[in-house]
Symmetry: C2
DNA sequence: ACCCCTTATAATAATGATTATCAATTGTAA
DNA sequence: TTACAATTGATAATCATTATTATAAGGGGT
């Protein structure tokens, strides 16, 4: 249950927190290398796993793509852009979902759930419009 | 938009339909081999992709695990067992989620969403209980 | 039946993300 | 300071999936 806060671990955590984004392991690896040029990608993966197991960070497993990590551990949901892959938090009232109401179904004991939205982010939409305007000339 | 219904494609589709399960590509491969011993795993993957693009079957991308395929294409949600990996349909009233209500958020144009429950299925719970009873002796 | 063209197949290589291995290093506590 | 456990960096291995490619069907039109 306990865990040592190594310098690698600390920098990885701090970079994730400061980013205010949902980063992948290799994105974090690139950032952390600026401070620790000799760090290994495996160390980044290992520590992200350790941190998420300890509940210090969250691990996002979005439909068929790379894992992303989240410094914000309070229960919340996400939306991802089908075009640029970015992942953002989304305001969704989780009280609307009542696990107890579906619990009897198939005899499962439900331990959690998540709501995953997908769509096109504003910057990708802007790019599309620019492109379309250009084509019309 | 059109597509030929080859014998491989037909058997893969029929096996998925008859299974009444959410099978993975390699599970289907094992089943289809009984009828077509020379079929290639790549053919199974290729056809599942083609069929799902044509909207004839659904593709389920569950949190960080193998893709599963679904002969039932009507919009519905799923629950998976953390222990044995099985995936079942779940009764969840999708009217409770209103994409328009969260659409303004971050400027996304939302094109879809899914609700993913996780838990322990009844047979895995029974196994746990049996095991616990045994330990108490 | 034959030719042509497109699509699909089987076999296999390649890819990408993640995890495993392991010898070397570091931290901690007696 | 020694002794042990935890961690690291480097790299190999794994797993699911996709790409490649030479070969084989499918289906008109003749
Ligand atoms: Mn988040
Ligand atoms: Mn289903
Ligand atoms: Zn985007
Ligand atoms: Zn189970």
């Amino acid at each position: 249950m306990h865990m040592r806060m190594t310098s690698q671990r600390e920098i990885i955590l701090k970079e994730l927190q400061d980013s205010h984004q949902h980063l992948t392991a290799d994105e974090l690896y690139e950032r952390v290398k600026k401070f620790m040029p000799r760090i290994s990608l495996a160390t980044v993966y290992r520590n992200l796993e350790t941190l998420s197991e300890a509940g210090i960070i969250g691990k996002l497993e979005i439909s068929g793509r790379q894992k992303r990590f989240d410094a914000d551990v309070h229960p919340h949901d996400h939306i991802f852009c089908l075009q640029c892959q970015r992942v953002d938090n989304i305001e969704f009232d989780r009280n609307l979902v009542n696990p107890a109401a579906v619990a009897s179904d198939k005899g499962y004991r439900i331990t959690g759930y998540r709501v995953e939205f997908k769509g096109i982010c504003s910057s990708c939409r802007n790019n599309q419009e620019k492109k379309r305007d250009g084509d019309e000339q």
